[in-house]
């Protein structure tokens, strides 16, 4: 069963965003290709913009309200992920050593998750080089949702799904523009994340039980996500801590992907 490891990072002191993007795509990406271990797919999501918390907050509730990249490592199964984070016979992989050159490592966030794809009313039906591949789009919105601590983990995705369906039904522009939606549900294997914490050098990371990715054709369409966001945040179901949740507009970059392009 595929398992995905997402790491959300902020650039290290002294780097511009352009420096950071250049480094992770061209240097760190090359390191990952050279030392692939058991990685099936590796996607970098370069952050264009984003927002943390909600407008009614008077101050930030996230320890870090600034993120520059989200890497997604896909594995066939959990054991392959561990074998990559702690490769046998290797004291420290090159990718592991490289993190300090671009990331503010103690403030990384990781989510080990399994994906569930949801239907969208208006998928991109055919290949269009101006917009993207079928089922894809040039812009990916990544929404990290924190569960309210009172809410049972088993109820959280049920409540989210109900609120999501209602929000989408109330958002005609989002219905038109969302080309693909993938829900990443945090796995309980993430509870045993010592290897990942060591690899990404995190200190007391916040826990996100869900990430939802929305694909749109271009940055001109992100208003569709804002319409949907207002609707889901206004939903009275008490499942999310929106003040500690955040979303990022990103540009996905393929680093490792053996799947043939869709056409």
């Amino acid at each position: 069963m595929p398992m995905k490891l997402m790491a959300v990072s902020r650039r290290r002191p002294g780097l511009t965003r352009a420096d950071y993007f250049r480094y992770i795509e061209h240097y760190h990406g090359t390191v990952a290709r050279l030392e692939r271990f058991k990685i099936d797919r590796y996607i970098q999501n370069h952050v264009i913009d984003g927002a943390f918390g909600v407008l009614s907050d008077t101050e930030h509730h996230n320890r870090v309200a600034d993120r520059d990249g989200v890497v997604e490592l896909h594995f066939s199964e959990f054991r392959d992920m561990i074998a990559t984070l702690e490769p046998e016979g290797v004291t420290q992989s090159r990718a592991n050593k490289d993190g300090k050159f671009f990331a503010d490592e103690p403030n990384n966030i990781i989510v080990m998750a399994e994906e569930i794809e949801l239907p969208v009313p208006n998928p991109l039906p055919k290949f269009n080089p101006g917009l993207g591949e079928p089922g894809m789009g040039a812009v990916k919105v990544m929404q990290f949702i924190m569960r309210r601590p009172e809410v049972f983990p088993q109820d959280f995705p049920r409540l989210w799904r109900r609120a999501h369906d209602e929000a989408l039904a109330a958002s005609p522009y989002a219905q038109e523009m969302f080309r693909r939606i993938v829900v990443s549900l945090r796995s309980r294997v993430n509870d045993n994340d010592a290897a990942a914490r060591a690899h990404f050098r995190m200190v007391d990371p916040p826990v996100y039980d869900m990430e939802v990715s929305f694909w749109l054709d271009s940055m001109e369409n992100v208003g569709a996500f804002r319409q949907y966001l207002e609707a889901i945040q206004a939903n009275p179901l008490p499942f999310a801590d929106w003040s500690r949740s955040f979303f990022l507009y990103t540009r996905p970059v393929r680093i490792i992907d053996d799947a043939p392009p869709k056409d």
């Binding site: 069963m1 199964e77 959990f78 054991r79 561990i82 074998a83 702690e86 046998e88 399994e114 994906e115 569930i116 309210r148 601590p149 009172e150 809410v151 049972f152 983990p153 088993q154 109820d155 049920r158 409540l159 109900r162 549900l185 309980r188 294997v189 509870d191 045993n192 010592a194 290897a195 009275p236 179901l237 008490p238 499942f239």
Partner: protein
């Protein structure tokens, strides 16, 4: 913020009933589990419940010969993984060839437990009622095995499902999570058990309907009540299958520790390479299983006669 504002508005709890007054939030239950693990005396409200007397009765002890079969590990070549769960439907093979009571580590490091009990006078309806009825209050779970069962909680959505009279008792737990606090002979743990239908466990349902009387099982994640940063949260697949036999029910248990179900519903080993489930944990759960189900077979017919078949009392 009210004490119950975590309950979604589409649920209408009836707080005049103890079955709803037991509802706590997830964070509150997690905090309470530390107290529950100390096995505190019953509260005055619990003392007044009609089933409180079961808490104080003498617990039937297991047959020493049965418990002794859990002293040493069995031959791992005679054990198997959850991918072969349908072996539990091959009665002839089970009776002639299988190790029915024992535990071991599989070659891949997983923990394996097999157990078998006969319950005179017990019916499938009693099993279905008990597993739906008992998660509604801590005391209902505690009376099952007072020395090692400390407490239980349901989420509001799961509680509403259990109390929904339109859902048959046999199906109430399908998709429901029991958040239990229990000692499986290795210290108190919080165990979140996600119950599944037999079809979702991977059973061949055509054969299952011919062979089995009823079923209870799913997947659990357990972690120490006093968890710290390095605590391991351990998965296990649990299977209790019951068969009609003359004068009662036969119960076969299998545990596969180190396995989980993926989102797609497939069993998957999720131990790191070269890591095994500690033998003490496998043996601990095996011994606990013998003890709790010896007690189960003894008191289920009596409590069912008194309080079955309703969820309320």
């Amino acid at each position: 913020m009210s004490d119950y504002d975590f309950i979604p508005s589409f649920i209408t709890p009836d707080f005049s009933k103890p079955e709803w007054r037991a509802q706590k939030s997830y964070s509150q239950n997690l905090a309470d589990s530390v107290i529950k693990a100390m096995l505190p005396p019953l509260t005055p409200e619990e003392e007044a419940r009609p089933f409180a007397k079961y808490y104080y009765e003498e617990i039937k002890q297991p047959d020493p010969a049965h418990l002794a079969l859990m002293d040493e590990p069995m031959d791992p070549s005679r054990a198997y993984g959850p991918e072969e769960i349908n072996r539990l439907l091959d009665l002839e093979y089970l009776e002639k060839e299988e190790v029915e009571i024992g535990w071991c580590n599989l070659p891949n490091g997983a923990g394996y437990i097999a157990n078998k009990n006969f319950y005179p006078g017990v019916t499938a309806d009693m099993i279905d009622w008990w597993f739906a009825w008992h998660p509604l209050e801590d005391l209902r779970y505690r009376i099952w095995y007072p020395p090692q069962h400390a407490g239980i909680m349901l989420s509001p959505i799961d509680r509403a499902r259990i109390l929904d009279p339109s859902i048959p008792n046999r199906e109430k737990n399908w998709g429901v999570v029991h958040n239990v606090t229990e000692n499986c002979d290795c210290g108190f743990e919080n165990i979140d058990i996600a119950f599944r239908s037999p079809a979702d466990m991977g059973f061949d349902m055509e054969k299952f309907e011919r062979v089995a009387a009823t079923f209870v099982g799913g997947m659990g994640w357990s972690v120490a009540v006093n968890k710290c940063d390095d605590s391991i949260t351990a998965p296990a697949i649990m299977c209790h299958i019951f068969y009609d036999v003359p004068d009662g029910l036969l119960h076969r248990t299998r545990f596969w520790m180190g396995y989980r179900f993926t989102v797609e519903g497939k069993p998957e080993l999720c131990l790191p390479p070269k890591v095994s489930v500690p033998a003490a944990n496998v043996q601990g759960l095996a011994r606990h299983n013998v003890k709790e189900f010896t007690r189960f077979g003894d008191f289920l017919p009596r409590i069912y006669k008194e309080l079955g078949d309703s969820m309320y009392c």
